[in-house]
């Protein structure tokens, strides 16, 4: 009878024979399992045909009960800019002074800053359906992406008739309308940014000009006169630069270049009423004479009369070619160092430049110059002094679990008291033009010197296109304009190329 006990050698050899699993097979089998589980995960979370998948829908209409605050102690999370996060205690108190119940605490959370980076962050939060932050500082550039997916709460459902009426009557309408989408309102203005020309009053006076006497504060200059003043002051003072602004590819097509075009009576899509659409069914008006003239003016500012496309009779050589690589912050350096006469920037820069540590009362502020008057402009809404709309809004996360408290905070933060508090603290201008004439605004240091200009310019601002195709379109325009200003293309070539690309996008996305 065969022994039932296996010898050790038999055991070893049988084990070796049984040990057929190599490392390669093991790794391959783990990998195959991972792929299989990945596929299973994909099918488990559904396809993209509107079932929401792992994306928040947040489409339920809040009831009256949802928005009635019961008075319990609660903390709401507010995703905001470092500008506000740094003075959170002050703003919290300002909210209480504006009527916010003291049982509501606000947690100011600041992470990234910058429109693009913040959009990426909100993209992640809102698409994942997270319940915090409860409300956010948002930009109108986000509207066409977030509003259709109801990733922001329609505030017309929660704010009440009184607030909605106030928004219709007392606010900058272009600012309010920038957050409207398909009949809903997805944000209320927190502050408006007003681009102006900030200049060295002492330098232009030394060159023999009289800004006060000519009322530059509320009577815009023409581009010709602006260039003349800038050149004369630059030469008199011996500064490195005359006029500085951000002209990199990102800015030239959608901000500084766009503003300049509109003040020359032009626009990318004809009348301003066409800004948002209908996509594919509106005229594209980039390759028109106003655009060519605008690019020629810029070429003259950059390279002077030696440039082959310089405008005859226009003073030039006042803007450094370095500006073609500048975004907003780098563009401020030259003016901040006292090496520029004129500088285009948003209203936030006024509080800095106009402080006693910088230029004090030697800082002048004037509205944007113009090339063609409003009545002579080719398109409705163009011409005259005109500046691009800027600013930020407050929007509510539709997945918030503290809706009632959040609505209370929104109401407090959109009160006159709060608007004036942040104006005092940061120089961020209120989105209600009437507040510029209030007693409290008149007492805000530095900014109170320029309220008339800010109010005037706020009434002459235009919103950029707010739709899902504006991003690739402004990239195409910026690329072509930049190539022209970099002397790689003629103005005619640049506008023709931009026209073609924008039309292609219109056709593709219609």
């Amino acid at each position: 009878m065969r022994s039932m006990v296996r010898t050790s050698s038999e055991t070893t050899s049988s084990r070796k024979a049984a040990s057929t699993l190599s490392r390669r097979q093991f790794v391959a089998s783990m990998g195959a399992t991972g792929v299989a589980l990945g596929l299973a995960g994909c099918s488990g979370t559904g396809n993209g045909s509107g079932d929401g998948g792992d994306v928040s829908s947040g489409g339920e209409t809040p009831t009256a009960e949802d928005i009635e605050y019961s008075g319990e102690d609660v903390t709401v999370e507010y995703s905001t800019a470092p500008l506000f996060g740094n003075i959170s205690d002050q703003l919290q108190q300002a909210a209480y002074d504006a009527g916010l119940p003291e049982s509501i605490d606000i947690n100011f959370s600041t992470t990234v800053w910058g429109a693009d980076d913040l959009q990426d962050r909100y993209n992640q939060i809102l698409s994942a359906g997270r319940s915090t932050p409860d409300f956010m500082l948002t930009n109108f550039a986000y509207t066409p992406f977030f509003a259709p997916r109801q990733w922001l709460l329609d505030l017309s459902q929660v704010l009440g008739d009184e607030k909605m009426t106030e928004l219709e009557n007392d606010y900058s309408q272009v600012m309010v309308d920038s957050m409207r989408w398909d009949g809903g309102l997805y944000g209320v203005p927190q502050f408006i940014d007003i681009p102006t020309i900030q200049y060295r009053k002492d330098l232009v006076e030394a060159a023999g000009y009289d800004p006060e006497g000519e009322n530059w504060a509320t009577e815009p200059l023409t581009w010709d006169y602006f260039a003349e003043v800038t050149k004369a002051a630059k030469e008199e003072a011996g500064t490195d630069h005359g006029y500085t602004t951000a002209m990199n590819q990102r800015n030239i097509g959608s901000i500084s270049g766009y503003e300049h075009l509109v003040t020359n009576g032009g626009n990318y899509f004809g009348d301003m009423s066409n800004q948002n659409g209908p996509i594919g069914d509106r005229s594209v008006t980039i390759d028109e004479q106003q655009t060519i003239d605008t690019l020629r003016q810029f070429r003259t500012f950059l390279y002077g009369s030696d440039d082959e496309y310089a405008v005859e009779g226009l003073d030039g050589g006042i803007t450094p070619s370095d500006a073609l690589g500048w975004d907003t912050s780098p563009s401020m350096e030259s003016f901040s160092a006292g090496e520029a006469v004129m500088h285009r920037n948003w209203s936030f820069a006024i509080a800095d430049f106009g402080s006693e540590e910088n230029f004090g009362e030697d800082l002048g502020v004037m509205p944007y110059p113009y090339g063609v008057s409003e009545s002579e402009a080719a398109y409705e809404g163009a011409g005259g002094t005109n500046a691009k709309l800027g600013g930020w809004h407050l929007s509510i996360n539709p997945n918030t679990e503290k809706l009632a408290a959040t609505v209370e905070v929104i109401k407090a933060m959109t009160s006159d008291e709060f608007y004036l508090s942040i104006f005092e603290a940061t120089g961020s201008t209120p989105p209600k033009p009437g507040l510029f004439t209030s007693d409290r605004a008149q007492e805000v240091d530095v900014m109170n010197r320029y309220l008339d200009t800010l109010q005037f310019q706020s009434e002459n601002q235009f919103a950029p296109p707010i739709n899902a195709v504006w991003d690739p379109q402004k990239s195409a325009i910026g690329q072509e304009f930049h190539a022209c200003l970099n002397q790689q293309k003629s103005p005619e070539e640049a506008v023709a190329a931009a026209q073609e690309q924008v039309e292609q996008i219109e056709e593709q996305e219609s």
């Binding site: 084990r15 070796k16 049984a18 040990s19 699993l21 093991f26 790794v27 783990m30 990998g31 399992t33 991972g34 792929v35 589980l37 990945g38 596929l39 995960g41 994909c42 396809n47 993209g48 045909s49 509107g50 929401g52 998948g53 994306v55 829908s57 489409g59 693009d116 959009q119 990426d120 993209n123 698409s127 066409p144 992406f145 259709p148 997916r149 109801q150 990199n248 590819q249 450094p320 070619s321 370095d322 073609l324 690589g325 350096e333 030259s334 899902a468 195709v469 991003d471 690739p472 990239s475 195409a476 910026g478 690329q479 930049h482 970099n486 690309q501 292609q504 996008i505 593709q508 996305e509």
Partner: protein, 317 residues
């Protein structure tokens, strides 16, 4: 109850007891490997899934209906160039094309960086006074955060700040404002990539050189081999495996380049494939962004295959 549970699991424990050491080891690590493989493969499979759908810019969900390979066809044929912030591939504007720019940066950076890393490794492998400090200094570029590296070179090539821009422009090396010129900026990005990758590749090669049997060199010296012959016939063949591994990692890293581009010249001046993915994703075109990401992965895979095939050929010679 306890007895019943014991009876139920005892066959499983018996089976485990009968496993050999290798299989038992695999069993212990398999949960970790499973988690890792899911973490590695799930995003890949999900990206592929998204890339086969349509973009939906106005609906409730950014991902629309199934369209098969249409996204890939549109990207590779150039039809999608209009909606992308830079063309994917356009021979008429090579320095504006994401694929061409990325391949150019990768090819030049890997070639020059590997050669310089090899030289550095050979030098640092020799005994000399201060070798320890030299090795530390050489590693420093690799330790600097990517964004700071990009910003350093941004400042180095700012016309208003840098003393080098004007002399280089006068010599005709760069234009007056290199960071707004696509060709100049691409060269600058290549320089940055080489500067930060040399320590990495040098370290890998040094590890390979350190493992070479010194006796081989003694024998070669006795046989009358020159230094070049020793390098060509001993050093190079011996370090080939680590060299290929280093080049593979280098290539993958360069193909994915993004941080130093964004921090220096910007994605609008030097459009790389990852720049295109990020910008397209930001526009809520998730399906198109996924397709570009997948194409990037495929290009990287093809390049790796070339390395693997070349390596196998060289070891079979």
């Amino acid at each position: 109850m306890k007895q019943k549970v014991q009876q139920a699991v005892s066959p499983i424990f018996l089976r485990i007891e009968q496993l050999d050491e290798a299989k038992y080891g695999f069993l212990l690590v398999s949960p970790v490997f499973l988690v890792l493989s899911v973490l590695a493969f799930y995003p890949l499979v999900r990206t592929l899934y998204f890339s086969l759908q349509d973009d939906d810019l106005t609906g409730m969900h950014p991902i629309g209906e199934f369209v098969g390979l249409e996204n890939y066809v549109q990207i590779l044929s150039g039809d999608a160039n209009a909606i992308l912030t830079s063309p994917f591939f356009d021979l008429q504007a090579p320095f504006s094309s994401a694929l061409i720019v990325t391949l150019l940066i990768t090819g030049v950076s890997v070639a020059i960086g590997t050669l310089m890393g090899l030289g550095m490794a050979i030098i640092l492998n020799k005994e000399f006074k201060g070798r320890r400090y030299a090795r530390t200094i050489v590693i420093l570029p690799w330790s600097i955060p990517i964004v700071i590296q990009g910003m350093m070179f941004f400042l180095l090539f700012q016309p208003s700040l840098s003393p080098f821009v004007e002399p280089l422009a006068n010599l005709g090396v760069f234009s007056d404002n290199p960071l707004i010129n696509s060709q100049d900026s691409t060269i600058i990005v290549i320089l940055i990539d080489i500067w930060r990758k040399i320590p990495f590749i040098a370290l890998i090669i040094m590890a390979g050189i350190a493992s070479i049997d010194r006796n081989l060199y003694d024998v070669a010296e006795v046989a009358g081999a020159t230094k070049w012959q020793q390098f060509r016939l001993i050093t190079l063949p011996q370090i080939k495996p680590v060299l290929f591994i280093g080049m593979i990692f280098y290539t993958i890293s360069s193909m994915k380049i993004y941080g130093i581009v964004e921090a220096s010249a910007g994605c609008s001046t030097v459009p790389t494939l990852t720049c295109l993915v990020v910008q397209t994703f930001r526009q809520q075109r998730w399906a198109t962004a996924s397709a570009i990401a997948f194409i990037t992965a495929l290009v990287i895979a093809v390049i790796i295959m070339v390395y693997v095939v070349r390596y196998r050929e060289s070891t079979n010679e």
